[in-house]
Every structure is written in structure tokens, then in C-alpha cells.
Amino acid sequence: MNKLYKVLSFVLLAVFLLSACAPAATATTAPEQPTAEPTAVPATEAPAPEATAVPEQPAASTGPAGVLRLPLRPGVTVGSLWTAAGRHLDEAFLSGLVAVKWTADGVQPMLAESWEMEGEGTAFIFKLRQGVKWSDGESFTADDVLYTFSIYANPKVGAIHAGKLADVVGYADVKDGKTETLAGVTKVDDYTVRVELSTKSPLFVELKVPFISILPAHILASIPADQLKGNDYWNKVVGTGPFVMTNMVQDQLVEGAANPNYFEGQPKLEKIVFQVYADSNTMLAALEAGEIDGMLYQGGGIPVDQVSRFEALPNLKVFGNMDAGLPTFLLVNLKKDYFQDVRVRQAMMYAIDRKTIIETVKLGTGSVSNTMFPGAWARNDADLTDYQYDPEKAKALLAEAGWDSTRQIDLQRYYTDQVNKDTVDAIASMLQEVGINAVVREVKSAEFQASVDDGSLELAYAANGQGLDPSLGFLVTGCGQRLAVGYCNEQVDALYAQGQASADRAVRAPAYQEISKLLNADLPKVWLWWEVRPVAFDTRIVGLAEHYTEQPLLMFDIPVYNEIHLWYTK
């Protein structure tokens, strides 16, 4: 009996001591010496084969053969019509007429085999792919396209991408509730659809159509529009995508099996599993442990201070400098009279030592920006003032503008990871240095959004995904736009219109370069840098990491898995 007590208590104490010592070990070894990590695994007592595997033969068998496991954010499972990140599910289970190519140079045919532009972009005629079957065996036809466009536009549905159809003839009538059918979308025959636009919009197919996932009219048309959300369909999506949804458990996972009738050919993978993660640290731990095979834009990527730790893992290919097409800036509320003097915003530009922040806090990731557009073709850097760090000049500008340095300025931050916390703290202290008394406040996203609407916003550390096209910048710098928060330059608006009048980049570039110049001078936001988003993928999936090697940037909301049917497990 006595012996038993001793053994029992020894085991308990040992377990406890082990766990008590462990965190100290991470704190000291992880940041400085990431390469020391793998050797720290006690190979002698670990039963797992991974520990003894030699680096040349990474533990490729950490996951089940033929299964691709990807992470997902919670809330996505509500159905893709209502969540931006829902497109990850759409690309697996549904298809659009076209899809953005992962090489980011235009779109490729999907359910539309080809399309023609009428006039200078006042209408498009889509030739649909024939012989495509929905996963329940019904044929895909023009009726599905007609139904889908109307349902996306229907205000009772409240689809997040409804605005993408704003240029389609009849959109206003649908929006005002006069009709539920988009008049501009008509059926020429069973496999031909004509979409008429109210304005010249030559980029309609490239910029708008990829966001519309075609839904099955034969299942959904009988459901009233206001009951579509929460409908059981979203738990067992019938689609035309590479996988067929087999299981969906809220807050847990979504599973799919290869679609044998996929129009691009049956996927080589047998299964796809989306595992839901509410906490991004949990997601990273799962990736590190080989429980999932990749990550996504919405998880926030790997924090830059942890990249080297992930690079040391043999089974992962890490993209530490993945461009996120993400201009990052201080959002300024221009409706506040004390921010209206451009010299105040200039002073903030001169006050923040962006180069040093990038080199130190951000560990060299990202690049300094002096205007909005991340795409090099959309700006002419020679035209732009570079606002080199100059605190004296900042002080002088503030003095000229009559800045009141006793005024406390609220600086909101909704990112919660350490690098972003440190970044915003550095910005605040640099602003304080020149006499702008910025005080950082951590907020939830909903709180930040509410401050935009009720006008209480002063400054916020924010970003805006523009990887797809510079035209998206209109939503944050166009007159009357919500996130323009008071900025209005009619010349900029006219240039945005000009930039969309052609599909030819050479024709469009001068317009955006001119906007770049105006945004550089007007400073509607305090431009900081273009952000990177480090991501990593397990090399046991052949095709996944390769795909991202060729992908020039991550685009918000656009997962571009359009060759997923060719991927397979080692």
C-alpha cells in the first residue's frame, strides 16, 4: 500500500513538474534559436516515428492518404452567400462561371466555356459548359445561372456580394423590392446566357463574376428568398464543384468526397476536410503538429515572429514573405475638424519611422508605401513624395497647422497578435514624440465598425485587401464611401471611372497612377506599408505548396483552388 502511494505521487509530481518547466523552455529557445527546436525533442522516449525521422525523409505520413485537411474560420458554415470567407467552401463544393487564376492574371473558364463582350462592355454573352451534372444527377443549365444572379441581388437574401451585380440592368428594381428577377440576365438558349449592363463595364467578368457561385435552381427556386439563410441546403450543398459535401458539423468541420463527375476531371484526392478554428493559435498548433495541411488568408497567417520556428519543421513549406496585396494605414476620420488640415496628416507621415518599424518590429517583412495601390503597375513611384522620417518637420507642420498637443487622440487596434500590438505601440509613441497624443485602445471588429458609423472614430490601424485589382480601392477612397470616412476628391472618382472603362491594363494604368499621386498628396489615410501574410503548407499534399510557389500574392476572399483536382497526397 505504501509503495503504491509513493509511485502514484511520484508520477503525479513528475507530470506536474514537466508541465511547469515546459513554458520556460519555449520562451527561451523559440524566438532566438528556432533551429534548436527539432533537436530538443527527446528522441529516446518519444514513441512517435516523426521524432526519429531523418530530415531528408520528412514525416510525410502525418495525415491520412488521399485526404486534404484545411482550416476554416467559424461562422463560415452559414453559407457562402453571407460570409466573405465562405468562398473557401464555394471553391470546393460549387463553381462559378469563371474563376480567378492563381497566377493572378485574369480569369479562367469554369461553368462558362467562353464569353463574348458586346459593344464596349455593355453586355456579355456566356456560352455554358454542356454535360455538367449537379451532384444529385440533375443537369446544369442556363436556368441555374438566371436563378443565381437574381438571388444574389435580392435584398431579402442579404448576400454579401450583392453589390457586385450593381451594374446589371434591373438591379435597382430588385433592390427596391419591385421584382425578384434581374431583368438584365436573360436566357438565349439552355446553354447561353446574356447579361446586360447599365454602364460600360469591360471588367465585369474579371472583377465581378468570380464572386458569384452558381446555385442549383432545381433545389432552391422553390424556397422563398428570405428563408434561404439557415436553410438545410447549406448543410448538404448540392454543387458542381470538385468535391461533394458529405458532412457538416457547426463549429467543427465540413467534409467532402471527390466528385466523380467533376467537369475538369475526377479529383485525385479522395476527400477534403475543413476543420474549423476559432483561435488562430490553435490553428497554428494544429499545423505544427501535422493535423492540418495548410492555412488561409483569414487566419491572419503565421505571425512574422514565428515564421522561423515553422521553417524549421521538415514537413512544411513556408512562404514567409507572401505578398498579401494589403495596403496598411492609419484610418483617419476626416469628418473631425482637427484632422482636416492636410499638414496634420503630413506630420503623421513624417513622424512615423516606417522603415525602422519594418526592420525591427516586423522583422523585415512588408514594404513602405506612400500611396494605396500595392500593384506596381498602378502607380509611378517617381511621382510620389516619399515622406522620409523627419520628426522636426512633423513638429513644424503641426505648429503651422495650430495642432493642440493636449488633445488626446484615440488610436484603435483590432488585431490582437503580438507583432501588430508592438507595431501600433511603436506608431503611438512616435506620434506622441511630435506632439500628437495618440493612445492605443484594443477593440473588437464590431466596435471599430460601429465607431465608423457613429462618427466617434479618430484613428485606427487598418488594412484593405486589394490584391485582385486597384479598382477595389474606390470603396475606401471614393466620395461618400463608408470607409473613406469623409474623404472626397471628385477628380479621384472620375479617374476610378476611367480606370474601369477598359479591360486593357496599358489603357488603365495612367488613371490609377494619377490616383496614386493624388492619394499621396491628399493623404486621406496615413499610408504605412504593404503587408505580407506568411503562410505554410504541408508538402505531403503534392500541388498545394507548388501552387502557392507560383501564386504571386494572396488575395482576400479568393482562395483560387482552381487546380485542386490535380493535387494528391504523397
Binding site: 500500500m1 502511494y5 509513493k6 502514484l8 505521487s9 503525479l12 509530481l13 506536474f16 508541465s19 515546459a22 513554458p23 518519444a46 516523426e50 521524432a51 495525415g63 491520412p64 485526404v67 485537411r69 467559424p74 461562422g75 458554415t77 452559414v78 442579404g158 454579401i160 453589390g163 439563410k229 439557415g230 458539423v249 457547426q250 463549429d251 467543427q252 468541420l253 467534409e255 476527400k271 476536410v273 476543420q275 474549423v276 478554428y277 476559432a278 483561435d279 490553435t282 498548433a285 505544427e288 503538429a289 477593440v443 473588437k444 471588429s445 464590431a446 466596435e447 471599430f448 465598425q449 460601429a450 458609423d453 484593405n464 485587401g465 470603396l475 464611401q481 463608408r482 470607409l483 476572399d557
Partner: protein
């Protein structure tokens, strides 16, 4: 007795209404609403779209009207629909209760078994190195927050030793199997169990020590009973009564779940549903959760009071 029971039941109704009003007001004081929580500055949404969605959800109504709307539904037995997913709130709760019950059940079992065993050992070997060891362990257990312990357990047992998975309910891509599921429940349950183990252990120790000093234990020893028989038959039986009360008080958490541990371990229970609802400003779900948990607390208080009169005939309610 019956009259007392009915009176208590009736008193609980205004209490419940009061709780819901307070929570409803507090929830509405959080900045932002369900529509604003769903949009992201990465994909800007136009003003009129936001207003339209707010109108559809009734978020533009005055607060008391929103509350009466919700209350009206409750009276008809309808917990309402999530603002975010339009799913029925009662369905959401029912689908997440089993996972929470499993996690909390396993964690309570671990802490009861460990707590009683260690507490008894401590008492029997009072002032031995084992007793001191367990006491230190108990203090540490009470002092370490469970989320920190959870992260430590993941680091040691999932990332380094690879004995257990880092998170989740089952292994992604595999068929459900009980063994796999139990492997997943172990770490979060352990993280939750430690604090309660420490509490149960200290109570057991105190209670066993008290019983050990009683005359009937001395008598049992005097008549030459085996030590094990004395402990199991005479000491434990009497010592457990106060401990069982403590365990009973802890039963409420079986349904309430743990917000933090469920989030860290991506455990699809009711705690995670609640925290997602709070960040999403999804007030029907917040209110559904609050209603459920407060009903459980009120019901268990009532049942405890009734149980006292059954256990102790001297207590009478009129």
C-alpha cells in the same frame, strides 16, 4: 411541502425575467451590432446595405421593443433565430450540449477520482512528505489559470511528445471512433480538472481528518478491524457527505461549459457557441445561453434546498 415547492417555483419566474433584462441591456451596451460584426474592413460594404440588414433583424428598433419581441417569442416557446446563421437557437444549443457534457463529465470524473484519492492519502499520511507534496500541488492547481495550463499541456503532450492531438473533437478526415474522441477530450478535460482536483482534495483531506478523530473509529480499531476496512467502511462513508455537497455545487458547469478551454481546444461545445455569439453580437444566441444557464442554476438551487429536507429530517419547509 408541495406548497413550498410551488411558491419557490413562482418566485423564480420574476428572478429569471430580471436576469434576462439585465443581460439584454448589457449585451446591447456592447459597441457594434450583429451586422457590423459580420463585415470586415477588408471587404467594405455600402451604407444602405448595412441599414437594410439592421432593419431586417430589428436592430433599428428601440431597446425595449427588441426585448419585448424576444420575450414574446420565449412565451411561445421559441428561443428565436441566430442573427448570424439564421439557425434556430434551441437547435444550436441542443446540438452543442453533448460535446459540453462529455468534456465537463470527463473533467469532473478526473477531478473526483484524483481529488478523493489524493485527499484521503494526504489525511491518512498527515504531515508526511506526500501530504506536503500534495498540498503544494493543491496550491499550484488553484493558482494556475486553466487556459495557461491548457497551453502548457498542448505544448508538452501534443507538440513535443505527440501523445495527444492539439485540438478538435475528432481527427480531421477520419471516421468517428470513441477511442479517437477520447484522445481528443483528454487534454482539455485535464486542464479543466486540475483546479477542481485541488479543491476536492483539500475538502476530502479536511473531512477525513475530522472523521478519523471520532470515537467510532477508535472503537473499530480497538476491536481489531483491518485498516482498509476501517477506512473504506467507517471513515470514507462519513467523510464523503460534505464532499458530495461540494461536488453537487459543481454539477452546474456540466451544462455551462467552459468558454476559454473550449476555444483553445476548438471543442464544439456550448461555451464556444457563446463566445462566438458575443464577438458576433448575436443577441438571440447570447440570450438563449443565458436563459439556459440561469434556469439550471435556479433549478439546482431549488433541488439542493429540497434535498436538504430529505437528507436531514430536522429541516422542514412550510
Amino acid at each position: 411541502m408541495l406548497a413550498y415547492f410551488i411558491r419557490r417555483l413562482l418566485i423564480n419566474i420574476p428572478l429569471l425575467v430580471g436576469i434576462t433584462i439585465i443581460v439584454f441591456v448589457l449585451a446591447s451596451l456592447m459597441p457594434g451590432d450583429a451586422v457590423l460584426a459580420m463585415i470586415s474592413s477588408d471587404t467594405p460594404v455600402t451604407d444602405d446595405m448595412i441599414k437594410m440588414r439592421q432593419g431586417e433583424l430589428g436592430l433599428d428598433l428601440p431597446l425595449h421593443e427588441q426585448y419585448l419581441r424576444w420575450m414574446g417569442n420565449i412565451i411561445q416557446g421559441n428561443l428565436g433565430y441566430s442573427f448570424v446563421s439564421a439557425e434556430s437557437v434551441s437547435k444550436m444549443i441542443v446540438s452543442r450540449i453533448p460535446a459540453t457534457l462529455e468534456l465537463m463529465g470527463v473533467s469532473l470524473s478526473i477531478s473526483i477520482i484524483l481529488g478523493l484519492t489524493l485527499g484521503t492519502i494526504s489525511a491518512l499520511k498527515q504531515y508526511s512528505w506526500m501530504d506536503y507534496g500534495f498540498t503544494v500541488f493543491g496550491f499550484i492547481g488553484i493558482s494556475i489559470p486553466d487556459f495557461f495550463l491548457g497551453m502548457v499541456l498542448v505544448f508538452v503532450f501534443a507538440l513535443k511528445l505527440k501523445w495527444f492531438p492539439t485540438s478538435g473533437f475528432i481527427t480531421a478526415g477520419e471516421e468517428f471512433s470513441l477511442a479517437d474522441n477520447l484522445r481528443h477530450v483528454f487534454l482539455p478535460a485535464l486542464a479543466l480538472a486540475l483546479v477542481r482536483t485541488a479543491v476536492f482534495m483539500r475538502y476530502t483531506r479536511a473531512s477525513v481528518l475530522e472523521v478519523l478523530g471520532n470515537d467510532y473509529v477508535r472503537t473499530a480499531r480497538a476491536k481489531g478491524l483491518l485498516q482498509n476496512v476501517i477506512i473504506l467502511r467507517h471513515v470514507m462513508r462519513n467523510a464523503l457527505i460534505p464532499v458530495i455537497t461540494i461536488i453537487g455545487v459543481n454539477l452546474g458547469v456540466l451544462f455551462a461549459g467552459s468558454v476559454i478551454i473550449e476555444t483553445i481546444f476548438q471543442w464544439p461545445g456550448i461555451g464556444m457557441m457563446f463566445i462566438n455569439a458575443v464577438t458576433g453580437r448575436d443577441s438571440p444566441v447570447i440570450m438563449g445561453y443565458v436563459l439556459l444557464t440561469s434556469m439550471i442554476v435556479l433549478a439546482s438551487n431549488l433541488l439542493t434546498d429540497l434535498a436538504y429536507s430529505l437528507v436531514d429530517p430536522r429541516i422542514r419547509y412550510e
